[in-house]
Symmetry: C2
Subunit: 228 residues, 2 copies
């Protein structure tokens, strides 16, 4: 990805164009990358036989990945049906952060404050050993920044049991809503209360596993995620 890319506007195709609520479409690649950085779980959708399947999955983004606009990586067990179905298939990867509950003055104007990214593309099975290791490190570090460097190398057996998928960040769109409800003038004038309830994710302090040896010390990098 070239140095200018983080500010390249998103260029939606017919598949990713935001058709509804265009005022909520975000066309700033930096905002997309920030959202993908904030999110922890992606929902991957793929057609499996006669039906769509949507499953939650960990992910990571490499803004300097092999695809011109950046690469989104997913992983899973090589035995997972959904993962095999996704390889070389067209997938949709959606990351949503819920930011608030919007209490409108009428049922119609209730809404949610959120940021949501939709990426559509062909999922490439990552075969190159170096790219696979890099992608898996990114996924661990996206969840727990700084952790991959502290872990032993994955074994050949572990790597063989893990499938890695790459989706280009080319066809991507983003929507966001923030702030107050947008109500009918008459409902506001009638004195009905409107507003929103902020929603946020809290990550608590690390809880040691029951089988930790007494000598197992909590590493400093695990103190980077907790928000409370």
């Amino acid at each position: 990805m070239d140095a200018a890319a983080p500010t390249t506007p998103l260029e939606p195709t017919a598949r990713t164009r935001v058709n509804r609520g265009r005022n909520r479409a975000v066309t700033d690649r930096a905002a997309l990358l920030e959202l993908l950085g904030d999110g922890l779980v992606a929902h991957l959708g793929v057609q499996v036989g006669d039906h769509p399947l949507v499953l939650p999955t960990a992910y990571a983004v490499d803004a300097d990945g092999p695809d011109a606009e950046g690469t989104l990586y997913l992983h899973g067990s090589v035995a997972a049906h959904w993962l095999r179905s996704s390889m070389e298939a067209t997938v949709c990867v959606t990351v949503t952060e819920l930011d608030g509950l919007v209490a409108g003055r009428s049922a119609f104007h209730h809404s949610m404050n959120y940021r949501s990214a939709v990426v559509i593309g062909t999922a490439r099975a990552v075969e190159d050993a170096a790219e696979r290791r890099h992608a898996l490190d990114l996924i661990v570090d996206h969840m727990l920044p700084g952790r991959s460097a502290t872990l032993r190398a994955s074994t050949r057996k572990e790597l063989a049991a893990t499938a890695v998928l790459a989706v280009p960040l080319r066809e991507a769109s983003m929507k966001a809503r923030a702030g107050d409800p947008v109500d009918e003038d008459g409902d506001v004038a009638a004195g009905v209360w409107g507003g929103h309830l902020p929603v946020r994710r809290v990550i608590d302090a690390p809880v040691p596993a029951a089988d930790n040896l007494p000598c197992a010390a909590l590493p400093d990098h695990l103190l980077r995620r907790p928000t409370a």
Copy 2:
């Protein structure tokens, strides 16, 4: 839904059977309904032309709805392409709650603690006026319990602009993971720290809209959602 239904085990079909990590499959309908009660955002997947599309959406469940095992309701603008594509189509609705980040002693054993429900079914366009109003009330009340009874009735124009979809809770599966990492004995014996970081959602106190009249009083029911 009959009175016994909340404890009816989930009966996965070939489409919803949990193929991977069967130890994480939950076959208790009460647990499914509890998760759907806890969640606020669903991810709806539908095949649109040559690609799947996954979008976040509000939802509600009527455990006593018209479908034998309960009904999941979604709504949106009648002008929304994804909603029109979903009508009478096979959709997948997934609700995921992230409960923790699992720091294994190796990259391979990193995981997340979560609960996830996957519902596959044909989305019925709800046309009956009473069912539409009921579903829309449920969706508002799922987000903000007690609110729908305090709002004016929706206008015919508002109702005409809103599409409501119903998905039977028949083909449903649930997966859940909780607690400690499950690591290789050698990594535990080596004294590497393992554990997890709990993740939770916090809803803050209501923030009034800038255009509230001075006389607009915060209604008590909006104090039921905040967790902090």
